[in-house]
């Protein structure tokens, strides 16, 4: 239940091609996260899956059945929008029950499903309120509740947490992970936030300009990025890209994550001067400017003191280097 298969999906708005041939299989019960820069077509792809937008070409298969011409309501999926999109004229209970009511379900069943969803999200106290009388976090929980009520095969989330503040975002993220475990449904989740992507996903799909760059589990992408784009996108702070020639390798780039660099005041492979430091308590980020490589980020654990413009030396962990050719593709050893 809930396996999704996309075959050569393309989408054009007028002359501009926004989705350029996407093939993707999402397995049953999987939590799949789409990440990518703004405007790369994540929302468009989600809307195509939901049936709110027609694909220009290609097939969408749900549980092996082609659903290109099936209306959104018949696809047995639910979508949670960034802007919550609650019905302003209905109270929380009716917002959550509307889809079942439209499907002609008996009243008792609607009430049971709504109450169950409300229980999962602790919404019982808010059932009679209108959306206007709820806080942002409560609205988002209602929107998620509205999706759960229908017991869909497939959940689609379009940046559901981006309007929430940091603390609430963490809480709701944990909530979503718990729901995924409890419901066992397939979920597709769009986000900008790489912490969300890394923590929630079974598999991450990295998109760029309407094309899939790489698909894999969070650790696969972290440990084995296929190109500089994926390497730069996954992991925070961003991977450093050093000039390969300056380090004595074939021309191209050498990638090294900030946590895999050793910083020393006395000696090392790369010389530079400290340009800025950020102390976060548990970790310290040191930005080092080097003539050959530009600005390099170093991540140190614990508290460290460095003065701005102090000279310092870096030694990369040789086992953690990623070699990329001049096109940015990973050079396999």
């Amino acid at each position: 239940m809930g396996a999704l298969d996309l075959k050569r999906i393309t989408k054009s708005f007028g002359a501009t091609e926004v989705i350029k041939g996407i093939d993707l299989e999402v397995r049953e019960g999987e939590f799949c996260v789409f990440v990518g820069p703004s405007g790369c077509g994540k929302s468009t792809l989600l809307r195509i899956i939901a049936g709110l937008e027609d694909a220009t070409a290609g097939d969408i298969l749900l549980d092996g059945k082609r659903v290109n011409d099936v209306a959104p309501a018949r696809r047995e999926l639910a979508m949670v929008f960034q802007s919550y999109a609650l019905y302003p004229h209905l109270n929380v209970r009716d917002n959550m029950g509307l889809a079942l009511k439209q499907a002609g379900k008996p009243r008792a069943e609607i009430a049971a499903s709504t109450d169950r969803a409300a229980g999962m999200l602790s919404l019982q106290a808010l059932m009679e309120r209108r959306p206007a009388e709820l806080s942002g976090g409560q609205r988002q929980r209602v929107a998620i509740g509205r999706a759960i009520v229908r017991r869909p095969k497939l959940f689609l989330f379009d940046e559901p947490l981006s309007n929430l503040d940091a603390a609430l975002r963490v809480a709701t993220r944990i909530e979503i992970a718990r729901l995924h475990r409890e419901l066992g449904a397939t979920m597709i989740y769009v986000t900008h936030d790489q912490v969300e992507a890394m923590t929630l996903a079974d598999r991450i799909v990295v998109l760029r300009a309407g094309e899939v760059e790489q698909v894999g589990s969070p650790m696969e992408l972290y440990n084995n990025p296929a190109n500089t784009f994926v390497a730069g996108f996954i992991g925070s702070p961003q991977m450093n890209f050093l000039d390969a020639a300056a380090l004595g390798f074939a021309p191209g780039k050498v990638g090294i994550r900030p946590e895999h660099l050793q910083l020393s005041r006395r000696a090392g492979e790369i010389a530079g001067s400290v340009s800025h430091i950020e102390k976060l308590g548990g970790e310290t980020l040191v930005y080092l400017r080097s003539d050959a490589h530009g600005l390099i980020t170093v991540r140190l654990f614990g508290e460290h003191d460095f003065a701005v413009s102090e000279a310092a030396f870096l030694t990369p962990d040789q086992n953690r280097l990623f070699h990329f050719d001049t096109q940015g593709s990973r050079r396999m050893p």
Partner: protein, 278 residues
């Protein structure tokens, strides 16, 4: 949202607005006070208030007894309400189609429908009259309703389409995923959210229809379908004008528009605050 004004500027602003209000309301005020005075008192001192000395309801008596004033009133009401209903319903539907669906010729159709804003419908009077004669609609209220619907639609579509574009796509899409039909989305999600715009359009549409003399005179001059503006003309003669009756008829004619305006403006205010809270 309390803009802080210094007392001096607040007084100046109020003075300017009050002056404008006084100027705008003055003609209405003069009509209403004079409708309660005797004919001699009207000419002797038009600005005097109706006091026991000059108070006279003769105008209202004439209006009530002469001519089928209530019939005229009813005709005007039917024509205005029916036209308003058609303009709002069809205007909103067309606006929804134009703003919501991508189809070939969307832009052109929008322009075509907006063209009516710039071209006065009265230019087509002769053709309209010929059409009404051919279809046997002369001297019916239907003729007036059709013409006024056509007259009101362009502006209604133009304004409503603009407002509907601002209704969140996510909301409509959520409705589609929940299985609402396009009609349900239109009537239950979109229309309530553009209610302030609907009220604005209603006011702008209603007043010219209620006040129109041209089309009733040409398309429906028969006694039983006369509107109030046309009906009041019986008191204006070529040589003698019964000013008491004219002023009384006009005063009475103000009442229904005023009531409708109040209804719509309440919608307007409620709509605006509902939007702000969301």
């Amino acid at each position: 949202m309390s803009a802080r004004l210094s007392p001096g500027r607040a007084i100046a602003a109020h003075a300017a607005l009050l002056t404008y209000t006084a100027i705008a309301l003055f003609p209405v005020f003069v009509i209403v006070i004079n409708s309660f005075k005797s004919r001699r008192a009207i000419f002797a001192d038009p600005l005097a208030l109706p006091l026991p000395g000059n108070f006279d309801l003769v105008g209202y008596q004439t209006v009530m007894t002469r001519g089928d004033f209530f019939l005229y009133f009813q005709n005007s009401m039917i024509v205005t309400v029916a036209s308003l209903f058609c303009v709002l319903l069809f205007g909103a539907m067309a606006a929804f189609a134009l703003s919501e669906y991508r189809f070939r010729g969307n832009m052109l159709l929008g322009l075509y429908l907006a063209l009516g804003i710039m071209i006065p419908i009265r230019l087509g009077t002769v053709a309209i009259l010929e059409m009404m004669v051919a279809s046997g609609l002369v001297n019916t209220l239907t003729a007036l309703v059709l013409v006024y619907t056509a007259q009101g639609l362009p502006l209604a579509i133009f304004i409503l389409a603009e407002f509907m574009r601002s209704v969140s796509d996510d909301l409509k899409n959520a409705g589609r995923i929940d299985g609402l039909s396009e009609y349900a989305i239109f009537f239950t999600l979109v229309l309530p959210l553009v209610r302030p715009a609907m009220a604005t359009v209603a006011v702008f549409t209603m007043i010219p229809i209620w006040n129109d003399l041209w089309f009733p005179l040409i398309l429906a001059p028969a006694e039983e379908v006369k509107t109030i503006t046309l009906g009041s003309q019986v008191f204006i003669g070529q040589f003698v004008t019964d000013w008491n009756a004219v002023l009384a008829a006009l005063s009475l004619a103000i009442v229904p528009v005023l009531v409708m305006y109040l209804i719509f403006s309440r919608q307007l205010i409620r709509g605006i605050t509902a939007g702000a809270v969301k």
